[in-house]
């Protein structure tokens, strides 16, 4: 089954839409979904042209395609547990919150909190991602716990904050403090970043670009070899965050001498 949701033109296109109802399992049966436009509750049909093609007997046969002006739609795929969502353009904040299975593909850019506190499944963002990609929400001790988030472009600050399981891969650059408070899981940064992994207690972070000056609370612990994008790199291994009695692993390029604490 394929569900195509094309946004209708809106009088006030800047008013955000909260659409936690847009998940494959909700389209299995014909039911009346509602979304919020600002503080107003709306029917899904009021904001989208809805086209349904073909049948489905289980949610994993459902594919939802979002097209049009989708950059202000928040919470798409929240608590999703099967199926696939394809977003042809940009997507708003909190896409894939708490998702446990299934797949989300974003062809454009994603706003902040992509895959926040995700438990499983896969998110692929072909453009850039905003701040707090794969992070935990404010005050939460554990962020993403499982699954994969892959960003082909750059990501903002605080990528994978409180990461405790799963994998976050950013092919481009990250902003400040990626992997801060990490407890487990894997974070791979293909480009540059600054101050990675402060306060980490577990997990592994690999930075293939220039991480700038490392935080002083990481201790050198030998070298190793790593592979990324078909290339092999000599990596310096650091353990930390020592200030937090952490047992995390931070790998940085051996040939970039600027990055020694």
């Amino acid at each position: 089954m394929r569900v195509i949701l094309k946004t209708r033109p809106r009088k006030k296109p800047h008013v955000p839409i909260e659409a936690e109802g847009i998940i494959p399992q909700n389209f299995l049966r014909k039911n009346d979904l509602s979304v919020y436009e600002g503080n107003r509750e709306r029917h899904l049909e009021d904001l989208f042209f809805v086209t349904v093609e073909g049948p489905a007997v289980s949610p994993d046969q459902v594919e939802v395609i979002l097209t049009g002006d989708t950059g202000r739609i928040k919470r798409v795929g929240e608590y999703m547990n099967a199926g696939r969502i394809i977003i042809e353009g940009d997507i708003g904040m909190h896409c894939g919150n708490f998702m446990s299975a299934g797949e989300i593909i974003v062809r454009g850019n994603a706003d902040a909190w992509l895959g926040r506190e995700m438990r499983g499944g896969r998110i692929l963002c072909e453009g850039n991602a905003g701040d707090y990609c794969g992070a935990g929400y404010r005050g939460e001790k554990r962020g993403m716990r499982g699954g994969t988030v892959e960003v082909m472009g750059n990501a903002g600050d605080f990528v994978a904050e409180y990461l405790s399981g799963g994998e976050v891969i950013v092919h481009g650059d990250c902003g400040d403090l990626p992997g801060v408070e990490m407890r487990g899981g894997t974070l791979v940064i293909g480009g540059n970043c600054s101050r990675p992994c402060g306060n980490m207690t577990g997990g592994t972070c690999m930075v293939l670009g220039d991480p700038g000056e490392l935080l002083p609370s990481f201790r050198r612990n030998g070298s190793t070899e790593a592979e990324f994008g078909g290339k092999k790199f000599r990596m310096a291994v650091f353990r930390g965050d020592v200030a937090n009695r952490g047992k995390g692993t931070l790998l940085v390029r051996e040939d970039l001498k600027s990055s020694r604490p």
Partner: protein
């Protein structure tokens, strides 16, 4: 405002008026219970449902700086308990530390009309009063902290009870407080020096007074001032294995009852009834505590029941929160209030898999079941320390149903039964006991029956809760699920003669009042003109004495209970 209300066919339990379950009518006029309703009154048919005086919580933390700190250090808590705007109801959020309106609506739908804030630092009273006005469906009272007050400790050191009483009188009137609260007396001040007091005979650094001296002096001062409530005490050594000895010693300090009222109110005693020496061999000493309580009519306690799940602990007991922080290594906040007190806050999770938590859970219930007189053991969770107050219905059901306790026994750590006597207790409380433990007992202990709280006979304030429970058709020991559901949501909550909540929804904008006390003292004991007292403000406080008192504008509807001090 509705002129009058006539409640017909109500199954009334009103312990203070001696009504133990009678089907009768209740007439209300102009916010008071009267003999006969005026013509044209609104008629509510209770249909034989349980009708009680409005609920009173005698120890809860819902307003003030530390509650607010709990709010902003736990943004994750705000993700729970969200409700959207509905009629007159504001948006609310939060579970263990909800927004003020959240607290107010939830209390109201449970039939509570009066709440006592358990600890208000005098210096930060303005904030507490501001939040009181934003808790519009309950009349509020504020226990005022004196546990580490420098002037009080100096008076205690000089063995000058009258001066201590004068300081209390001035401060209560200045900050619009209701009663004396002592939280870990001396301990929080010692914590300012990085120490704690190990027992009630351990001196506080610099002041060289012991907690026992502070407690005894404050009890005497309280009686000199003839305050409506007694000293409200959070004992030393909260949450320390083996602390039951401290609690028993403290209970021995209570002098004989003054008239009809207790002389010492011990709060959240569950946290003070631990045997053993470490967390590994912690055990329940509820039997010892209950034995002492049963022999001392001058003492009233509240349970401080914990319930499993997530919550936030907050108390003026700074050192205790630090110990908890060392166990959990999660977020922690610590706060010092100049010459007065301190506080600490951490979020916690009480787990059924933790033996310690299971023992704590059992102790609270044991206290309520072992106390022979329900007027002496009141129901509370020390909201939100033991659990958010929305768990009260579940606690009521546990107390009323042995079967429910047995069912819970299967869920918790199987070793628990070797450490606690709970599962040997057959007692099941009845509707009357619950009515005492949730409103009448509180009204009596707080001394607010004089302003018409806690009963339903003519002259009382028209605070009424009608629950969808039919006591003659329901066996609480079997139908505990219904008991729980019934106490969670009233059919009608009436406050001061107005229906404020119906079927779980609040239906009017509230207008609460704040109840405070003023003791008239002879001019020689007016601390406002005492040079030594003023010097404290000039030398150490960040505010001057003249700027310290809370202005009337902070209490739009203050109700003052005046007493004549015997100075």
């Amino acid at each position: 405002m509705t002129q009058g209300i006539l409640i017909k066919n109500a199954y009334v339990i009103d312990p203070l008026s001696g009504i133990r379950g009678e089907v009768m009518d209740i007439a209300i006029r102009d916010g008071r219970i009267v003999e006969e309703a005026p013509p044209g009154s609104q008629v509510i048919d209770a249909g034989g449902c349980l009708t009680l005086p409005g609920g009173i919580d005698s120890h809860s933390h819902v307003c003030g700086t530390k509650v607010n700190f709990g709010r902003y250090m736990s943004p994750e808590d705000m993700r729970a308990g969200r409700t959207s705007r509905k009629g007159v109801m504001h948006v609310t959020s939060g579970y263990s530390v909800p927004t003020t309106f959240g607290n107010s609506y939830r209390y109201s739908t449970m039939g509570y009309t009066t709440v006592l804030e358990g600890a208000m630092a005098p210096l930060e009273a303005r904030h507490t009063h501001e939040e009181f006005t934003a808790t519009p469906h309950q009349d509020m009272l504020a226990n005022t902290l004196f546990d580490g007050n420098w002037s009080v400790m100096e008076a205690v050191r000089d063995k000058d009870v009258k001066r201590a009483a004068a300081i209390v009188a001035w401060t209560l009137a200045a900050v619009r407080g209701f009663a004396i609260k002592l939280t870990n007396p001396g301990g929080t001040e010692a914590w300012g020096w990085g120490k704690d007091v190990a027992n009630i005979h351990d001196p506080v650094p610099h002041f060289e007074v012991t907690p026992a001296e502070i407690i005894s002096t404050m009890i005497q001062a309280n009686e000199i001032l003839r305050l409506p409530h007694s000293v409200h005490l959070h004992c030393n050594n909260l949450g320390v294995p083996g602390n039951f000895r401290t609690t028993l010693e403290t209970m021995d300090l209570a002098p004989p009852a003054q008239g009809n009222r207790q002389t010492l109110y011990l709060t959240h005693v569950q946290f003070h009834s631990y045997g053993g020496t470490t967390w590994r061999d912690i055990s329940s000493k509820s039997e010892d505590i209950a034995r002492s309580l049963n022999s001392k009519p001058q003492v009233v306690i509240d349970m401080g029941q914990i319930m499993f799940g997530r919550t936030t602990t907050m108390t003026a007991d700074g050192p205790m929160e630090f110990k908890l922080y060392m166990l959990h290594h999660n977020k922690w906040s610590n706060h010092d209030v100049e010459l007065e007190t301190g506080s600490g806050i951490i979020p916690v999770y009480y787990s059924r898999k933790s033996l310690v938590n299971c023992v704590m859970w059992a102790i609270g219930l044991e206290l309520a079941l072992l106390a022979k007189n329900p007027w002496q053991c009141l129901l509370s969770t020390d909201n939100p320390n033991g659990a958010p107050f929305v768990k009260y219905p579940e606690i009521i059901a546990l107390l009323m149903s042995r079967r429910m306790r047995e069912n819970e026994r299967k869920e918790i750590d199987p070793r628990t039964e070797h450490y606690v006597p709970l599962f040997a207790l057959e007692r099941e409380l009845d509707w009357y006991d619950i009515a005492v433990m949730t409103r009448a007992g509180q009204a009596k202990a707080l001394g607010i029956t004089r302003i018409g709280k806690g009963f339903l006979s003519p002259g009382a304030q028209a605070d009424v809760a009608i629950y969808p429970l039919k006591p003659d058709q329901l066996d609480p020991s079997v139908d505990y699920q219904q008991v729980m559901a019934g106490f969670s949501r009233t059919l009608y909550t009436i406050k001061r003669g107005r229906v404020v909540a119906r079927d779980g929804d609040v239906v009017v904008e509230g207008a609460n009042s704040t109840i405070w006390t003023r003791s008239r003292v002879p001019p020689g004991y007016d601390m406002g003109s005492d040079p030594e007292f003023t010097k404290k403000f000039d030398q150490y406080y960040t505010v001057r004495l003249r700027n310290y008192p809370v202005q009337d504008v902070y209490l739009p509807r203050g109700v003052c209970i005046e007493t004549e001090a015997a100075l």
